[in-house]
Every structure is written in structure tokens, then in C-alpha cells.
């Protein structure tokens, strides 16, 4: 959990100040300005409860922690309108830009991804892992983009703003439009996905 949070923080600092180690004042400013980071923290906390404590003896502690998680999650949903399912498997270094209307339901997201405002990843809590959408590492999901359930997106892919992804997207592709079609098969998103 702590490793993941450190990676998330590093991404926020890198994206907002263009250096790995900004001054303390700058760090406080970045944490205060980016509301997405609170949502990521609460998600990590919820996933931590689910993954670590599976012991029967610790059932009471688990339920207490879950209560705290639900209260925090309620606040995040009401204040920032960011809904991240605690069952989703998200790799380290998730960066949420801006806030409002973000939905990440149960899915498998790789490391070092970026999710922009009003992007939606569809899914549900009761279907198996194979049925969910698989999203690779270094994927940049643009604002207002919608990814349907059961879609496979390769590493380093870029989903442009406002696109609705209904078919699989291969590695290093740039998908665009509604329904999404592949515009560029070798697109480097390292400028976007810092």
C-alpha cells in the first residue's frame, strides 16, 4: 500500500512541477490543488483492507475499517465526484487529472496510467476477471472518454478525448472518435503520460 501511494505521489509531483523533488511549499500546494489524489488515497485504503485482512479472527477490525472507508468514500464521491470501485485492481502510479464525473468501476488497470476528468471505465462487481476490461501499463485515457466492459487495451495506448471505445485496442495505438477507430498504430504518449 505505501509503495503504491509513494508512486502516486511521485506522479503528481512530476506532472505538476516537472521535477522529482520540488520544495516542501510546492508539494503542499500540489496536494492541496489536486483533488484526485484524495480519491486515489481512499481507493488504496479500501483495496488494502480487502487484500490484506482475510483472517477470520480480525473480522471485527475489518468491518470497522470498512466503515471508515465507506465514510471517506462517501465524502470523495460527494465532494469531488470521483467513483473508484474498491474491487478494481489498479497498478501503482495512478494519476487523476482534475475532478468530476470520473468512474472507474471494477477493472484491471496497469501501472503508470492517467485518467482525465469525466472518463468512465465500465464494469461490475459480480463478473469474473476474464469478463472485465483489461488495460495495460502507460495508458492515457483522455477526458470524456468511455471504455466499455470487457475491452482489452494494450500497453502504451492512448485513448483520445471524447472517444467511446467499443473494440479492442492494440499496443501503442491512438484510438479516437465515436465509435473509436485507430488513427495511428505507433503513437508515443510519453509527452502526455509523464
Amino acid at each position: 500500500m505505501m509503495e503504491n501511494i509513494k508512486a502516486d505521489l511521485d506522479r503528481y509531483f512530476k506532472n505538476n512541477s516537472r521535477s522529482l523533488n520540488p520544495s516542501v511549499k510546492k508539494k503542499i500546494k500540489i496536494i492541496g490543488e489536486n483533488y484526485g489524489i484524495y480519491a486515489v488515497f481512499v481507493y488504496r485504503f479500501g483495496y488494502f483492507i480487502e487484500s490484506i485482512i482475510n483472517d477470520n479472527k480480525l473480522n471485527l477490525i475489518k468491518h470497522l475499517l470498512l466503515g471508515a472507508y465507506y465514510m471517506l468514500n462517501f465524502l470523495v464521491i460527494k465532494m469531488f465526484d470521483i467513483r473508484i470501485s474498491r474491487k478494481a485492481k489498479i497498478g501503482k502510479g495512478l494519476y487523476i487529472t482534475h475532478f468530476g464525473g470520473i468512474v472507474i468501476s471494477n477493472c484491471i488497470l496497469g501501472d503508470h496510467c492517467t485518467v482525465n476528468q469525466r472518463a468512465q471505465i465500465e464494469g461490475d462487481d459480480f463478473s469474473s476477471n476474464a469478463e472485465l476490461s483489461h488495460i495495460g501499463d502507460n495508458v492515457w485515457i483522455g477526458p470524456h472518454a468511455i471504455i466499455k466492459k470487457g475491452i482489452k487495451i494494450g500497453d502504451g495506448a492512448t485513448i483520445a478525448a471524447g472517444s467511446v471505445v467499443q473494440a479492442d485496442v492494440d499496443r501503442h495505438c491512438l484510438a479516437l472518435g465515436n465509435p473509436a477507430r485507430i488513427l495511428n498504430k505507433n503513437f508515443d504518449n510519453s509527452i502526455l503520460n509523464v
Binding site: 482534475h98 468530476g100 464525473g101 477526458p143 471524447g162 472517444s163
Partner: protein
């Protein structure tokens, strides 16, 4: 006042209409705090005076950002007569916005991967759920319909629609006053 004209449909406003605007639309307060911050930034060059003046607006700014779920870039130069129609959800990162623009709900105006931001002309209407980004110029009196994704410059008095956005009508010299929809 743009809010009275566009959202309440009034040409002349009384004191009670003004009160209505103040209490009914939280986006109005967001705009007020943005204008205050922009004015401080352009008026005062001293760093400490700036900080002191901005501290007053910081709490209000944050509160109304969260209430309306919208953000405005601090360097965005918004001309008078601007109005947010709807409840917010706007991420606004334009360089300049002309006179009499209206922005509806859930709109994103922002940068592309090279940090270029758009410029909007006068009397532009941006429909809900649309995205505008990149180094583009939007002319006067352009109507951008709902759910448009726009990445190219648009000349004056056009109607834009679709994803990716394309020009549907040209030379609509009469700007429709109340009707944004088709």
C-alpha cells in the same frame, strides 16, 4: 448582466432579480472569485501583496470549485458578459474568452500534449459535454453543439457538430438569442 439575460430572460433587472442570481447559481460565485484573483494578479506586481490579497479568495474559490465541480485556469482572461449555464462540471483552461460567451454543463476546454490552449471569440456558445483542446481559434458567434470534440480552428458564424467536430452550417449571421439547440 449576462446571467439575467441568458438564464432568466430579462433585459432589465431589479434588486430581487439580482438576489435571485446570487443565491440560485453557484457558478456565478465561482466566476466572481476567479475575476477577483485575476484582477489581483494583473493589478499588483509585489509578491507579498498578491499573496495577502489572494488569501481572502482562496477559501471561497475552493468551496465553489467543489460545489460546482468545476475549475478555471487562473490565467484565463475572461471578458465581461460571460455566463455558465447549468450546474457546472466545467474544466476551463482557455487563453482568452470574448464578450458574451455561454458555456453549458460538463464542458472541457484545455491544452493538448504541447501545452497549447485555445482562444474563444465573442458570443460563442459551447454545448454540454463538448471538448475543445489544442492551439485553435474560435471565431465570433460560433455555435458548438452538444458532445462535440473540436481540435481545429473555426471561422466566424459557423455551427460545429460531431466527434471529431466538423462545420455543419456557415455564415449564420443572425445569432439566435435564446435557442442553442437545433
Amino acid at each position: 448582466m449576462s446571467y439575467a439575460k441568458n438564464l432568466l430572460g430579462l433585459e432589465q433587472i431589479t434588486f430581487w432579480d439580482r438576489m435571485k442570481i446570487v443565491f440560485k447559481f453557484p457558478t456565478f460565485w465561482l466566476l466572481v472569485f476567479h475575476r477577483y484573483r485575476f484582477w489581483v494578479h494583473s493589478r499588483f506586481k509585489n509578491k507579498f501583496i498578491r499573496m495577502g490579497m489572494k488569501i481572502f479568495s482562496l477559501l471561497g474559490q475552493r468551496t465553489f470549485e467543489i460545489i460546482t465541480k468545476s475549475e478555471i485556469l487562473s490565467t484565463a482572461n475572461i471578458a465581461p458578459g460571460f455566463c455558465f449555464a447549468g450546474r457546472g462540471g466545467v474544466t476551463l483552461g482557455a487563453k482568452t474568452i470574448g464578450r458574451g460567451c455561454i458555456i453549458y454543463e460538463n464542458v472541457t476546454i484545455g491544452r493538448d500534449h504541447l501545452y497549447n490552449i485555445p482562444e474563444l471569440g465573442e458570443f460563442v456558445r459551447v454545448g454540454s459535454n463538448s471538448v475543445i483542446y489544442g492551439e485553435i481559434k474560435i471565431g465570433n458567434g460560433v455555435i458548438i453543439r452538444e458532445s462535440t470534440v473540436l481540435t481545429k480552428s473555426v471561422p466566424d458564424y459557423c455551427v460545429v457538430e460531431g466527434n471529431p467536430g466538423r462545420i455543419v452550417k456557415k455564415d449564420t449571421t443572425t445569432i439566435p438569442n435564446n435557442e442553442h439547440s437545433r
